[in-house]
Amino acid sequence: MEKLDKLLRNVQNPSRYIGGEINSYNKEITEGMVRFVLAFPDIYEIGMSYLGFQILYNLKNERDDIFCERVFSPWEDMENELRKNDMELFTLESKTPLKEMDFIGFTLQYELSYTNILGMLDLSNIPFRSKDRDDDMPIILAGGPNAYNPEPIAEIIDLFVIGEGEEVNIELIELYKLMKKENTYTKKTYLREASKIEGIYVPSLYEVSYNKDKTIKEFKPSFEDVPKLIKKRIIRNFDGYYYPKKVIVPFQDVIHDRAMIEIFRGCTRGCRFCQAGMLYRPIRERSKEDILEKMDTLIKNTGFEEIALSSLSSLDHSEVKGIVTDFVDKYESKKVGLSLPSLRLDSFAVDILKDIQKVRKTGLTFAAEAGTQRLRDVINKGVTEENLTSTLSEIFENGWKRVKLYFMLGLPTETYEDIQGIADLGEKSIEMYYNVDKSLRKGKPTVTISTANFVPKPFTPFQWFGQDTVEELNEKHEFLKEKITNRNVNYNYHGSWESSLEGIIARGDRKLNEVIIKAYEKGCKFDAWREYFNYDLWLETFELLNIDPYFYNTRTRDYSEILPWDHLDCGVTKEYLIKENEKALEVKLTTDCRNYCTNCGVNKQIIGGDCYPEINS
C-alpha cells in the first residue's frame, strides 16, 4: 500500500484505481484458481457504466475457481506516475500486474479506444503482437460489438468472442483449466482448441491475401479443422437467464450512475443504419415477472436511487407498460426512480413517461435520426412527421420544457433539404411549445439538437457506403449552425475528424494493425477524448506506412468485394443486407419483425426456426 500511496497521492481522482467498492470482489488466491482481468480501454467512469462489463464480472466471480478483476486505462497523470516509479499497471482488486493474469479480456465498445489497448499492454510490459507473446503470457481476448470487425486489431488480440459472451467465457476458462491440469497447455495448442468453440475467432489461424487494388482476394483458415465461417453465439432462452444479483456501486461520477436491468436483447425495428439492431437479432425478452424480480434484488443489493430499463428500444418490450406501473407503484414511496435511454417519438412514450416522472423527472432524449420523412424512410426509421409533432405537443402539455432531439448527419442519399429539415424541426418544436395553453407552460423552452456523424458499420445495409469526407461533414455542420437561429434552440455536434477515424477503423482490414501500433508509438491515445485526439498525427502515420486511409472510409464498395468481416456470421445474410440497401435507395420501408418476418437469415443461420413461431406459422 505504501508504494501505491506514493502514486495515488499525486493523481487526480485517485478512487479510479483503488477498487474495494460495494459489491466488488476480493478473493484469496488459491492454487489452481484462474485469474482473469476484465480490461476496459478507457477510464473507470466510462467503463463502469457498461452493463456487459458488470455482467461478465459477476458471472465469473460467482465461481470459486475464478477470480475476475478489473483494470481501466489510467489517465495521463497516473501513467506518468507509473512510469516514473517504474511500476506496471495493476488490477483494481488485488493490485496485481496484468502479466500475472491467465486471461486479459478487453471490452471493445468503440474504435477510438484501440490505442488505449496498446497503452495498457505497454504499461504492463506485454508485447503488442500476439506472435511475440510466449506461453507464459496471459491469453488476450476481446469481445463486444466491435469484435464484429476484428481485423484492425487481429494481430494484437489472441482470440475474439463473437456474439454474447456469457457462456463462451466460461467455456474458454474450462478448456484452459483442463489443458493446464492435463499438462497439455501451450498457447498454440490452446488457441487451436479454442477455435473450435462456437463463437470463437482466432485470427492467427487464418491467412489473408490481397488483390492489386488492395481489396481482399482470399481469406481462409490455415488448417482443415479450423472453421471457415465463425458463427456468433447467442443466449437462446433469455427469460430467466443469468443476471447478476448485485452490481458494483461505483465510486466517482460514472456516466450512468444507476443500476441497469437488461429487459431484452435484439430489436425488431430494422433501422438500416443501426449495427446493434442487426447484430443482436433475434429479439429475446425477459418476462415481466423475471424483470420485476431482478429489479427488486438489484435495488436491495445496491441501494441505487435509479434503475434503467436497458435494451436497444425499451418501449418495445411487450409488457413495458405493466413493468413501469408495477414498479412505480412499489417504489414511488421509496424514492427509487426509473429511467429509459433514448426514446422513439410516439404517444406511447409520453404515456409511459407520465408514470415515470412521478418519482424523478428525467431529461428527455428523442431519437429522430433524420430531418425529413424521405430520409427517415431511407433509413427505415418508422417515425412519421405526425408522430413527431403530436408527441412533442403532448410532452409540452405535460409540463416538460426541455427536450433533446438526436439526429445523424451524412446518411446515404442525404441532401441539404434534409439538413434544413433538422433546423425546421427545432423551430417547429418551439412553436409547438407556445401553442400549448399558457397555464400549462412553465417559462421558456429549451430544445437541444444534437447531431452525430453517420459512420457506416459492418453487418448493416450501409456497409458498402462511402462515408462523407471531413470537409463534407464540416460544411453540413456549418450549414445547420447557420440555419438554427432560434435562441431557445441549442445545437451541438460531434467532430468530423473523430468520425472519419472511426470510419476508417470500423471497416478496416489487417493492414491497420501496424497503423494503430505505429500511431500509438507516435503518441496517439485517448482518441475518443477531444483533448487528446490528434488527427494529423494519424494522417502522418498512414502516410509514413504508405497506406491510404480513405480507402477504408470514403470509398463505396462493390457488392462483390470480399469484406474484411465476411468470415464472421452474425446471422443476417449478405443477400438480405443487399436487399435492404437497395430498398433504402428506392425509399421503401421494411416492416417490423413483429408484423411479419422478412427473412433476414437469423432464423435459419442461428436459431434454426422462426423468431416468432406464433406469428409466422
Partner: protein, 235 residues
Amino acid sequence: MVVIVILKLIVKYEKINYAKYLAHLELSGIIQRILRRLELPLEYSSGYNPKPQIAFAAPLSVGTSSKGEYFEVRITEEFDLRKITEIDPSFLPVGIKFIDATFSTAKNSIMAIVSDASYILKITTERQYEEDDIREKLNKFLAQDEIIWEKIRRKKKPITKNIVEFINNVFLLNTNNKEMIFKINVKTGSNGNLQPDVIVKKFIEYANIELSDEFINIQRQEIFKNVNSEQVPII
C-alpha cells in the same frame, strides 16, 4: 406555536486504507446508497430529484485517513441503532467502518458544533535524530508568540497568518527508525481551520530537519465539540 423537531441520526465512522482516497462527494453518494439499502426512515429533500440530506462534521482532505469521522442525516423516526452499529461489512466499501451511532434533535448542524480535532502525523527523515534534542526544539518552537504561515493561494496574493492561536497542543510521540511521529490537537470548524501538517512543516523548517520524503502521512484521530470548556468527542 408549532415547534418543529428535527430528528437526526449521527454516525461515527472510520475511513482508512484505500478509502482515504474517496473524495467528499463520492463518499456522500456512497453513504446515501448504504442508508437507502438499510431501508432507514430517511427524510428526503423535496423537488424533482429527492435526496436524503447528509452533512459531514468537518472536511477531510483526500489522502488523509481517519479513525473518527462523523456524518448526520435527517430521519423521520427512530429505529433500532443496531442496524448501523452491526451493519453487514459487505454493505460498506473496503476501508469504511461504522463505529457508533446516536439520535439527535439538536438545532445546530453537526458542522456548527465542531471545535477541535486531533491528528497523528508521521514524517520520514534522512537520518536518525536525537529524541531529546527534537523534543527540546519542539518546546521552544511552541513557546514562540508568533508562528507565521504564508498561505499560498491560486491567482491571489498569499495571506499570512499567525497560527499559534490555533494550536492546542503538539506532542512528539517518538523518533524511531528515521521516523518522527507527532500527535497534534488543533482548533477546527467554527474555531478556525488549520491543517495540522502546516504545524509540522513549520517545525521542520524551524528545527532544520531533513526529510527523505516530502510526504507527511496524516491520520485524523477524533473530532471534538466543546462542552463546559472541555473537549469531548462528537458522540
